[in-house]
Amino acid sequence: MRLLLALALLCPLTAQAGVKDVVDGHVLPGTARFAKATAQLDVAASADCTAEAIRPAWNDAYDAWLGISHLQLGPIEAKGRALAIAFWPDTRGLVPRALGSLIAAEDPIASNEESFGEVSVAARGLIAMERLLYDEDFAYDAGEYECNLVRAITHDLSRMAVEIDTEWREDFSRTLLTAGEPGNDTFLTSREADQALYTALLTGLEYNADQRIGRPLGSFDRPRPTRAETWRAGRSLRNVTLSLEALNDLTEKFADTDTTWTGLAFADALSVAVDLDDPIFRGVEEPAGWLKVEILQQRIELVESSVEGEIGAALGLAAGFNSGDGD
């Protein structure tokens, strides 16, 4: 006991301890789950490519994606994968256009596993699938071209998910955990690894407040409900809830310091989300409903400031000095 205490005193207190917990307890279970869910989605599409048959597996895959979508560093960011998995927000209507032109031409690329990855990101991934599975305009029957297209997308998704999981396990985990050691060109000090995870945490929170909620909110005078993420599939609010749960998990694994306030702020934001009876933020069309959705946005912003005040301050971290400056 005394020896342990002495060792503890000898080892300098660093925030690095949290990085291993994040990798083992948050990232790797998340990437494995996404790989499994997309594999199951691919199996489901192979067995029966109709929308009704695939929807449950698509929803499971989307749930799994929300567990890791905030990890915008390393394998998920490499090769443009994040957007190839979920092309959102689609501000210029590229998804229906890209799908429409593939379908109109019955482009044989849908039957070519090797080259489907070269298709526009707008026609790949979970968001393109949402159109095919939920948009009346894209309804199809078994045996039509869309069947091949759906299978090509699920196959491509599963491939990317396996790559992400493998690269995290076999390579990028070590890159994070050996930050500051000789030969590590990505993280030149241990603090840089902390910074990368901290930035992912804050950026993930911002994304929920500014994009997932901010886009349908629009302005009080001009709400934009059809800008909500995956509203066709009826899961806009669910996305926020699951993403917040994942970010809460990341926070708990990452922070070695006291996170009482951050924990309370997460619990508060999640309880507001649970009580919000507005699964696709359609309520923003009415003033009362708009204000309710805005309250959720504000509670997430409170989580952000708690994270900055409690974790950022304790570790001497701040989100991007230059990336946040903008000039």
Partner: protein, 356 residues
């Protein structure tokens, strides 16, 4: 026989005649501004290996610095919408002058010297009209304001000197008003441009991009050896749009846009923060939001991408580039970014200013 009077006179002459030069400061290769651990800001002179030659404390966060071509002086601008700029004597570390924007004007954060270093040109906002202005300041006359002229656009940000003291100005196109901080007031109608202005204020040439790119704010400039102007842009649409952020222009021709695969374009998150051209004509642009540096050939063909978190500053360095980041790193771009130096207690700000 040396008289006391004569001796004093020779001392005085020695103090004024051989003017101080950058060589007296150890011939710094770059100037950079950083936030230090205490939260304060300093201007650093760095040698080619990235080591400090001098450090001068600043009263607040700055944007860019303009280095005098010969004398060891730097002008550091307050952040946009800044009302003042400081002239620093890098030999003494002292602030020798403070430039205050005239009433109704504010600085945008960049400046350039013309007339062999005797006149400083600053990009400014004529606040009431929102029109861009170049302010002229005479170094020889104690940094007196000696005039101003229009830039032919809104929101002039960076400017650079070309041969013949022609100025090339990046009219970013975005109207701001100090009462609204950095709020962008005209995104629907913005029209960025690249303007060439002579030292008398005549607009020699003005170039715009196709209207589909009117929301691509032209912000930062680099000038190549043969007078090629490379410009870095900031897209005001969605960061998922695959939009080129690099343009290349020579007067009398149509601008060429950088050509990169869509996933590379998207990886920059619609934002290029700095730009440089190396001795071989290669161009580098940085994106702190994407944590990425991209290099292009002189013809705009994509060459390489490098990952570096919170990277922003970039300067040419011989046949290559040095980049600086908000995590305190200065790196040389080889196959990958190779660290010249880590200063983890420092956050390098937007720009790295090369001294030639």
């Amino acid at each position: 026989m040396t008289t006391r009077r004569g001796f004093l006179a020779s001392l005085a002459a020695a103090a004024t005649l051989p003017r101080a030069s950058w060589a007296d400061m150890g011939a710094p290769a770059f100037l950079g501004v950083a936030r230090v651990a205490s939260g304060a800001y300093s201007l650093y002179g760095l040698d080619a290996e990235g080591s400090d030659l001098f450090a001068i404390p600043l009263p607040a966060r700055g944007h860019a610095a303009a280095a005098h071509p010969t004398a060891p002086e730097a002008v550091v601008f307050a952040r946009r919408p800044g009302r003042f700029a400081l002239v620093l004597d890098c030999a003494t570390g002292g602030v020798t002058h403070r430039l205050d924007a005239p009433p109704g004007r504010h600085f945008y954060g960049h400046g350039a010297f013309i007339a062999e270093g005797q006149i400083l040109c600053t990009t400014e906002n004529h606040i009431d009209s929102g029109e861009g202005r170049i302010g002229l300041w005479s170094r020889a006359e104690g940094w007196r304001r000696i005039g101003e002229f229009a830039t032919g656009g809104i929101g002039p940000h960076d400017l650079k000197r070309l041969d013949g003291d022609v100025l090339v100005v990046a009219n970013g196109g975005i109207r701001t008003h100090p009462d609204h901080g950095r709020d962008k007031l005209n995104l629907e109608t913005m029209r960025p441009s690249l303007a060439y202005v002579d030292p008398d204020g005549a607009l020699l040439d003005q170039v715009e991009l196709p209207s589909a790119l009117h929301q691509n704010s032209i912000r930062h400039l680099a000038v190549g050896r043969s007078g090629t102007v490379a410009f870095a842009m900031q897209w005001q649409g969605a960061p998922t749009d695959a939009i080129p952020l690099l343009g290349i222009h020579r007067r009398g021709t149509t601008p060429v846009l950088g050509k990169a695969p869509p996933e590379e374009l998207r990886a920059m998150k619609g934002y290029a923060g700095s730009i440089a051209i190396d001795a071989g004509g290669r161009i580098a642009i940085t994106s702190p939001r994407g944590g990425r540096v991209q290099t292009f050939g002189a013809d705009g063909a994509f060459l390489d991408a490098y990952e570096r978190a919170d990277v922003c500053g970039v300067a040419s360095h011989g046949a290559g580039f040095v980049i600086s980041d908000g995590l305190g790193g200065l790196s040389f771009l080889l196959e990958a970014p190779v660290a010249l130096r880590r200063a983890a207690d420092r956050a390098w700000d937007n720009h790295l200013v090369p001294l030639v």
